[in-house]
Chain length 411, copies 2
């Protein structure tokens, strides 16, 4: 851990400022957060709401529009640009109900293999050097090529991904303050939930770009997204992005805690488990037109969708309007940001005949999004089995029927 | 207008696709917008809300936390990054109540000096080539150096600016479809309000980058921001950004309509009116720490704030922690986007003594944000008068008292 100690010292030197005096002092809020847990709903002037004419909402799988508190999908077909409104960010919770955390009482503890265990209040974290970065999150279980009603729309198949401007403190800043001991190689992050949701993350990623986020799209992180603190691990499966973050244990091995073994481990057809697979592959999906929509007639349409990759930046997206026989390059919304959703657009004139629309992402490493069958092969699963595959990034084909109806071409 | 006709033809040629067939056809929605004007409030699963512990809200000037329906300021002191959540976007309405527009019935008419007047439904607009761009809006009346309670906080003095990712169709695409006639030089844009809010905009800006926006931060534009359509005129005073947009009249002169003459014209001390002044100058303000906040003690703080300019991109921001005697360059959040808020950050160690914090923006043209007195002079107003000045972009000083209280140093 010599290198970490060195970079910690370098950080003090380059900033010319030590923050060590901060963490022990009493800190009053610099923010507009006051304890008002029983506050009535805000009026729409204090805090604006969508038009009552607009019905852009999250939906739960397995039902038409019903809502559960465990899985809610982002309405990708109704959204534009790359920012997901925080109220429409997907969620996939593994416990009934969410913690109701008072930010005045909440603490983040860093301990384990460190020189100085440290505990931070929210106000203390907010005094530290911050960064804001636009990052997507995607659930490891997103995009399984589902049959039945759950396969009908882009929302229900692919809606477990969203993208926000996250603000917070780099975890490396906090770890350097603690002084990581030689021999440490992993961290274990824990959320303040009733089931002590816990995830292992290699120390390298923790020191590189992992963020302790207190704000999402400008304002405090929403309750369902981990208020008041969430760990954001760019490019990695969202189960690593621990919500209601309260503890970082610096350790020398992964813990294989329940949510990363029994519940979320990848199992192969032979019954054996896969080792950790954090990084998400190159991926894209056409969001309009998409399953369940209907083209009113032949003529001009803009095809649009989202692309992303756990490897950094999207380099290009190609669109096929003939079921994959030929592809042409789509336009990418600028600027293209690393570990962020990338909006693509493609001008298309529909001649009224049956066809299939699909998109293909190539990322900065040159890796190309696979077809459905290639993806199954890459994941070591058979087509019969891949409805339970994780990290599924196969190309999604949307069939256009002569009457304009769009449907999932996979069934 | 030969050049406009030529570029219209070029557009068809380069796209290889005509959209003319589109505008007359019946169009069914491709979006999640269904008419539900009497829908009950969404539950927080279908559409998430902030934590009840969090009190980040818009506020009206002239009162503590009370709300009116005419002026609501963005809580800049509580926000991070560059995206303003849509529910916290400032508003400054010039009529009581807002129109309750059904998107199925709403139309945008382009007429006047054009070859073909055209009327578009929302669904038709959404089939056309779209763009998403992060743009700030700022009210012409923002940042008047106010005395009294309205001068106490960054929210009440400077909170008439916000920044969103806007998506829509470039107005140039629509104007090229209509075919602008030779001799046309302005457009007049009208909102569907009871008072027919109307604004003149030179044709050059209309053809350059003016946007007919239907989405804000991913989702449909909020009612108070102009649902379902808003004109966004990047870098120009927000009174030009006509909400509830319903009509574009192509004309050969500015109209000097009521809201741009009697109500919002700039008057000089000699009583004469200024000619149009659209573009906003280079500007910045420290949002934390800022008026009304309190530092809990000496030590490390991150100073942060926002900078913007109507001239394009912010080139640099300098921060002074000694009342303007010396300045040092702040770090700018990347990427810096043209016509967008730019977040700056500056590491500071407070020694516990009285001082004054302020920031200064330099934009891509090399123009430097003026001091309060320079700004007054630039605007041709005297200090006694500048409480009514528009486009005020003077440097805001925040005084730090030895007890940590921050106050507006102007009084």
């Amino acid at each position: 851990m010599g290198s970490h100690s060195h970079s910690r010292r370098r950080w003090f030197l380059t900033s010319g400022i030590g923050v060590a005096g901060l963490v022990m002092g009493a800190v009053r809020s610099l923010r507009g957060q006051t304890a008002a847990p029983t506050a009535p709903p805000r009026d729409t002037l204090a805090y604006g709401q969508p038009s009552p004419f607009d019905n852009t909402i999250r939906k739960a799988p397995g039902q038409g529009t019903a809502i559960t508190d465990t899985a809610l999908m982002t309405p990708l077909q109704d959204l534009d640009g790359i920012i997901t409104p925080s109220g429409l960010h997907f969620l996939m919770d593994h416990v009934k109900g969410i913690p109701d955390l008072d930010p005045k009482k909440h603490r983040l503890l860093l301990h384990g293999m460190v020189d100085r265990p440290l505990e931070f209040t929210l106000d203390e974290l907010k005094r530290l050097p911050s960064v804001s970065r636009v990052y997507f999150l995607e659930c490891n279980a997103n995009s399984r090529p589902l049959h039945g009603p759950n396969g009908e729309s882009v929302q229900l198949v692919h809606g477990r991904t969203s993208c926000s401007e996250w603000t917070g403190v780099l975890l490396s800043v906090l770890l350097k303050e603690c002084g990581v001991k030689s021999g440490a190689s992993w961290i274990v992050a824990e959320g303040d939930e009733s089931n002590k949701y816990t995830m292992s993350i290699p120390l390298g990623k923790a020191m590189e770009d992992t963020l302790v986020a207190y704000a999402q799209n400008g304002e405090p992180v929403r309750p369902h997204q981990g208020y008041p603190l969430r760990l954001v691990v760019p490019g990695w499966e969202a189960i690593r992005a621990v919500k209601w973050l309260t503890r970082i244990n610096v350790v020398d091995r992964p813990y294989m805690a329940w949510h990363e073994s029994g519940n979320n481990a990848d199992t192969r057809p032979d019954g054996k488990g896969l080792w950790y697979r954090f990084e998400l592959g190159p991926k894209s999906v056409i969001t309009r037109p998409s399953g369940g929509q209907r083209l009113p007639g032949h003529g001009f349409y803009e095809i649009t969708g989202l692309a992303w990759t756990g490897r950094g930046a999207v380099r290009r997206v190609d669109v096929s309007t003939d079921g994959g026989r030929t592809y042409k390059e789509a336009e990418l919304q600028q600027p293209v940001l690393r570990y962020a959703h990338t909006r693509f657009r493609y001008a298309w004139k529909w001649n009224g005949e049956e066809t299939v629309l699909q998109s293909r992402c190539t990322d900065e490493r040159g890796e190309v999004q696979p077809t459905i069958l290639e993806a199954a092969k890459n994941l070591g699963v058979t087509p019969d089995y891949f409805y339970e595959a994780d990290h599924f990034n196969g190309i999604q084909p949307w069939k256009v029927n002569p009457d304009g109806r769009i449907q999932n071409a996979l069934f």
